[in-house]
Amino acid sequence: MSSPKRIRVLVAKPGLDGHDRGAKVVARALRDAGMEVVYTGLRQTPEMIVEAAIQESVHVIGLSILSGAHNALLPRVTELLHKEGADDILVIAGGIIPEDDVPGLKKHGIAEVFGPGTRLSEIVDYIKAHVKL
């Protein structure tokens, strides 16, 4: 009788970055994998992202960023989530993020970073394996 639980994901574009091809392709792939995907469009501040994540009660936040501002913006997101007591949300990122920056981001609570050339199924599998429902 009970409907199967759906994984809910927020795909967000932090900062002024206008590269949305990857974000939209990933959003569609997650939908086609049976997830409910909230997309909020361009120019999102960390505050807006966290507020949307909370109101939508998502299990995953996927941040797509190709503008080089990741070190400034992504840790802000996890910091605000922590403040809201929402650390249980899985936060992952994708886009143009140099290898050297990945360890720092992981230290700040970004669970995984997916660069160019990532297969969509890899992202889907990762979420399914790591999401806390």
Binding site: G15, L16, D17, G18, H19, D20, R21, K24, V25, A27, R28, A29, Y39, G41, L42, R43, T45, S67, G68, A69, N71, A72, L73, I96, P98, G115, P116, G117, R119, L120, S121
Partner: protein, 556 residues
């Protein structure tokens, strides 16, 4: 047409005889072949296919209507295309250094990449600018930065392209003012502002104002330049970003020309005579990875635009019908894996652009998918163009691929597919209506997703990514933008605000606001404002208050 009949018969014999015999022993690689945009590709093209039966009408001669074979009469026999590497990062000082390096290396034009805050009309100290200053382009706040950017570069000698859209009028005003300081009058200035807001809504994302006000600002620049800057390209109507966002070749062509039609309509509606501004419209396309399809696209683009100008807009001057365009190799085909392979991709794509008759060219660097290009990488990219120009001989005769049965047929097919889209957009009420309804965006997204799925399923091979991969990627040095530059830039900005003549600034801002509320041409007001050291953020801020901001439709 007995010649055709003979060929038809012979072709049939070949298919049924030689071919089918071979196929039983050696089946072909694929059950069917198609271009990267999904146009079916036949085994063989013959005179039966090429649509250029009517040579004069469909091809003609270089420099003459319909310009299929080129817009200049002697093309590269006269002068090579302009080699123009898009660059900019950090502060004006650093970018100025990169510009001078490139000019020393034999580059023949400049192309400015601005940082994102500048492109969306925020100063370096705006809260939204945090972490973005100088990251992916140069930060320009005021005329002071602009002066440093072009320090020791004589503006009467170079042509400068500026990739700036919503704030295009502001940056043009700054360019004019800096040139004036150098003693160069604006009628001597050569260059381009991108100024193409419609594709920002569709594919690039640095929009500020809603369409109506944006279009007014654009027609203001058209009008201003048609009177005062005869050598300046007032717009670069861009398909590149549409293609990079994932479109097919036909969509790139169609949406670009549909946007072009909207600009021309707006200008005509604003009272401009078509032949007074049309020759200053320029275009910008991508050169993607399907070799022949791209060459065909460039040729189709020229022919289709010429027809549109003549038939739809009744242009009398042939100059108005010439589509001049810049080309950039396709960044989205370049991979983070095995980055040196990108040099080869770029070489082929650059060659396509040249065979397609481009007026200027940017070749991407091998580190495209890693970071902004290092100096070494950008040098190889520039050398690639120089090798094509000086060593291969491809520029020694005009439109050398013409007459290829395949390319001529593909030229026709691409044109046909684009025209179909343009018709659809006409029915929707034109490009602006189609964009507000999310039509172009949806089409592009569909294509992008389709493409990604094909790559994931290895139906489309990307060397180094889904075939011929290596376990470990080799170390590759990439460009890092110093994060401290942001602080430095903000300090400079503060100092400027304190130093400038406040009364002069205030008056300029007031007049600008009043002008924006009314209907006069804004260019003179913007020029006064930048001369009074008003910043990009302040000027765009006033216009934001008067006009509001664009809200993207939900096209998911």
């Amino acid at each position: 047409m007995s010649g055709n009949d003979d060929t038809e018969k012979a072709l049939k014999q070949w298919e049924e005889g030689t071919v089918s015999k071979t196929l039983t022993k050696f089946p072909e690689r694929e059950p069917k072949f198609e271009t990267i945009s999904g146009v079916p590709v036949k085994r063989l093209y013959t005179p039966l296919d090429s649509g250029c039966q009517d040579y004069q009408r469909s091809l003609g001669f270089p420099g003459e209507f319909p310009f299929t074979r080129g817009v200049q009469t002697t093309m590269y026999r006269g002068r090579f295309w302009t080699m123009r590497q898009y660059s900019g990062y950090g502060t004006a000082r650093e970018t100025n250094r990169r510009f001078r390096f490139l000019l020393e290396q034999g580059q023949t034009g400049l192309s400015v990449a601005f940082d994102l805050p500048t492109q969306v009309g925020y100063d370096s100290d705006h809260p939204m600018a945090q972490g973005e200053v100088g990251k992916v382009g140069v930060a320009i706040n005021s005329i002071a930065d602009m002066e440093v950017l072009f320090d020791s570069i004589p503006l009467d000698k170079v042509s400068t392209s500026m990739t700036i859209n919503a704030p295009a009028a502001v940056l043009l005003a700054m360019y004019i003012a800096v040139a004036e300081k150098q003693g160069v009058q604006m009628d001597k200035l050569r260059g381009t502002i991108q100024n193409d807001i419609l594709k920002e809504y569709v594919a690039r994302g640095t929009y500020i104002y809603p369409p109506k006000s944006s279009m007014r600002l654009i027609t203001d620049t058209f009008k201003f330049c048609s009177e005062k800057m005869p050598l300046w390209n007032t717009i670069s109507i861009s398909g590149y970003h549409i293609r990079e966002a994932g479109s097919t070749a036909a969509q790139e062509l169609a949406f670009t020309l549909a946007n072009g039609i909207a600009y021309v309509e707006a200008a005509v509606k604003a009272g401009l005579d078509i032949d007074s501004f049309a020759s200053r419209l320029s275009f910008f396309f991508g050169s993607h990875s399907d070799f022949f399809e791209e060459i065909a696209k460039f040729r189709a683009a020229r022919r289709l635009w010429a027809k549109i100008m003549k038939e739809r807009f009744k242009a009398k001057d042939d100059e108005s019908c010439k589509m001049r365009f810049h080309t950039q190799t396709a960044g989205c085909t370049l991979t983070a894996q095995q980055p040196d392979n990108n040099v080869v991709r770029v070489t082929l794509q650059a060659l396509q652009a040249v065979l397609g008759g481009t007026q200027s060219l940017h070749t991407n660097s091998r580190d495209e998918a890693l970071s902004l290009p290092t100096e070494q990488s950008v040098q190889i990219a520039l050398r690639t163009q120089q090798i094509i120009a000086h060593e291969t001989g491809v520029g020694d005769t005009i439109d050398p691929i013409a007459g290829s049965y395949y390319v001529e047929s593909l030229t026709d097919e691409t044109e046909r597919r684009a025209e179909e889209y343009i018709q659809k957009i006409d029915l929707m009420g034109g490009a602006i209506a189609a964009i507000e309804a999310g039509f172009m965006q949806r089409e592009i997204q569909d294509s992008a997703y389709e493409y990604q799925k094909r790559v994931d399923a290895r139906k489309r091979i990307v060397v180094g990514v889904n075939m011929f991969t290596e376990k470990e990627d080799r170390e590759f040095d990439y460009l890092r933008v110093n994060p401290d530059l942001e602080k430095e830039q903000v300090v400079q900005l503060k100092r400027l605000r304190e130093k400038r003549d406040h009364g002069l600034w205030k008056e300029a801002m007031r007049s600008l606001r009043v002008a924006a509320q009314g209907e006069v041409n804004l260019m003179p007001f913007i020029i006064s404002a930048v001369k009074a050291f008003a910043t990009v953020g302040e000027i765009c801020g006033v216009l934001r208050q008067v006009w509001g901001e664009y809200k993207a439709p939900d096209i998911m």
